[in-house]
């Protein structure tokens, strides 16, 4: 691990000011992903700004009837919150499908959104990777691509986003609240939060320099049956091959987003109008532009069968 200096932030805006003016500074909260990457020298911050003391650890009601989840609320506490279990079951289920109990006790809401891909070539510092070292090339294209994206990728990167929680947040139309060094507060709909990889896959979201996530806001509950089904190589403590997050109403209408297929949680609102007609019609539209490799062509039928199982479960 490279040496770094360390400070504890006093206010969210102070943290943003220091991060903006310090080249190579990073925020640290749970640290479960950042420290892993620092040990491998994939991340090499020269200065760490510890945001754990910022008291952004509450879950509060909003005037609109939703919930404001502080950026520092731990994954365990979010999944265990009674309001989340009752009204946003999809979110609780997605959180509980991710990581291990130890990691969920440390990992934060904002950190979960910002975690980096688990593409094996991103982790292997002996191999070119445009995400790790811009311009060096993508080893996954033409390499072992079983776990890689099948849609929304680019010639520069075919990595997937690893978060289960983000799939639920996308399905629930969450809004990411931030503060910038100027004190400006932004509300970023999660649909606009993640970038397409394009030619700059190292830029993964729309946060500006020093911009700090302070909360994630959920709109008021939409009811329905909440299901998160994750398919993985082990039955616990593994990243998704694919996952399906869905909210299904009594009349068969609903919402669906996918994990493990793209560089971000994959949701196509227009495809949801076909949900009452079943999984095949919906997935035909949801993954219409998919370009799988031989290694990961299985993901499309796996998504369809998993969605079919989800819709059956929702009806029962």
């Amino acid at each position: 691990m490279k040496s770094f200096t360390y400070e504890r932030a006093r206010t969210p805006q102070d943290a943003a000011v220091v991060a903006e003016r310090t080249q190579g500074a990073k925020f640290i909260a749970g640290g479960t992903n950042l420290l892993d990457l620092m040990k491998l020298e994939i991340e090499t911050p020269v200065h760490l700004i510890d945001v754990n003391g910022l008291k952004l650890d509450k879950i509060e009601h909003t005037e609109a009837g939703g919930l404001r989840i502080g950026a520092l609320v731990r994954n365990t506490d979010l999944a265990a919150d009674k309001r989340v279990r009752r009204d946003y079951g999809l979110l609780a289920r997605a959180l509980l499908a991710g990581a291990s109990g130890q990691l969920r006790n440390k990992a934060t809401t904002a950190g979960n959104l910002l975690q980096r891909t688990r593409c094996p070539y991103f982790y292997d510092t002996n191999q070119p990777c445009n995400k790790r070292q811009p311009g060096s090339g993508c080893s996954a294209i033409g390499g072992f691509s079983r776990g890689q994206a099948i849609i929304g990728a680019s010639d520069a990167c075919i990595a997937t986003h690893p978060s289960d929680m983000a799939v639920a947040m996308r399905t629930l139309d969450a809004v990411v609240e931030t503060v910038r060094a100027t004190g400006e507060v932004r509300q970023i709909p999660i649909a606009e939060f993640y970038r397409a990889p394009g030619s700059t896959p190292h830029l993964e979201n729309v946060l500006g320099p020093g911009e700090l996530i302070t909360a994630v806001v959920l709109p008021k509950p939409v009811g329905g049956v909440h299901i998160y089904r994750k398919v993985r190589d082990r039955s616990s403590y593994a990243f998704a091959l694919i996952s399906v997050g869905a909210i299904v109403q009594k009349d068969g209408s609903g919402r669906v987003a996918l994990g493990g297929v793209a560089h971000k949680p994959w949701r196509v609102e227009e495809a949801e109008t076909t949900l009452p007609r079943g999984a095949r019609a919906t997935v035909d539209r949801l993954l219409a532009d998919a370009t799988p490799s031989n290694d990961n062509a299985f993901k499309r039928p796996l998504v369809e069968r998993t969605l079919a199982a989800v819709l059956t479960q929702a009806r029962s």
């Binding site: 691990m1 490279k2 040496s3 770094f4 200096t5 360390y6 400070e7 504890r8 220091v18 310090t22 190579g24 500074a25 640290i28 749970g30 640290g31 479960t32 420290l35 892993d36 040990k39 020269v46 200065h47 760490l48 510890d50 754990n52 365990t76 999944a79 265990a80 279990r85 009752r86 079951g89 609780a92 289920r93 509980l96 499908a97 990581a99 291990s100 109990g101 130890q102 990691l103 006790n105 440390k106 082990r234 616990s236 403590y237």
Partner: protein, 221 residues
């Protein structure tokens, strides 16, 4: 039988062995042990070859401890190399195996994936704080009774994790296999297997580990 004055513990032998290797193969590794002046709080990059030091105080197993550490020191390394509490084990050092599990303010975490300097004022409990040879924690006794280990390397992490699991179940934290998110979770074998999935045992003592935890959960219920 009288103890030989040459008798060394296994740990002494390992440490001396490691130092010999470092000294013969990597002079820079020895030089890196020399502390450099503490970096100022202004965020200039740390000059190559120097280390940034930071002070931190925490309570470990009920005792207050003060450290001045290289900022890179994980909580795991602080516990083992600075507090000399070697019960907590380093396995993968990447949060995948759970051998380093300790309790932070009563909640289980991977001590390898957190920096010691991030724990100012915190309360850390390691396996040494859960029980002692003369007064075993219920989980320690149950692991002995049910043969919940073979080589024992993962055991401190397994036991600290199990203590965390029982607390989480009591607090009503659901799991991936909880059928009803609104119901109070039970310490069933299925629940325990899911909740303990962050602790790997290469000897494969899983069945006996679950038996040990089940017995303690039953006694508590």
């Amino acid at each position: 039988m009288p103890q030989s004055k040459f008798e060394a513990t296994r740990r002494d032998v390992l440490v001396v062995g490691a130092m010999t290797v470092a000294a013969t193969t990597s002079p820079s590794a020895v030089k890196a042990q020399v502390p450099a002046p503490a970096a100022s709080s202004s965020a200039s990059p740390v000059p190559s070859g120097n280390v940034a030091l930071s002070k931190v105080s925490m309570t470990i197993n009920g005792k207050p401890r003060d450290f001045e550490l290289d900022t890179r020191t994980t909580l795991l390394d602080a516990l083992r190399e600075h507090a000399l509490l070697t019960g907590t084990k380093k396995g993968c050092d990447h949060g995948q195996c759970g051998a380093c599990t300790v309790l932070l303010d009563g909640r289980r975490i991977n001590s390898c994936l957190t920096l010691a300097v991030m724990h100012e004022g915190d309360n850390v409990t390691t396996i040494e704080g859960l029980g002692s040879p003369g007064q075993l924690h219920d989980l320690q006794s149950a692991f002995v009774k049910h043969d919940g280990y073979q080589c024992g390397y993962c055991t401190p992490g397994q036991i600290c994790s199990a203590a965390g699991v029982l607390g989480e179940i009591q607090a009503g934290v659901p799991s991936h296999v909880s059928m009803d998110l609104m119901a109070a979770p039970q310490a069933s074998p299925e629940e325990l297997r899911e909740r303990m999935s962050g602790n790997i045992c290469r000897c494969g003592a899983y069945c006996n580990i679950i038996d040990a935890i089940t017995e303690v959960a039953g006694r508590k219920a």
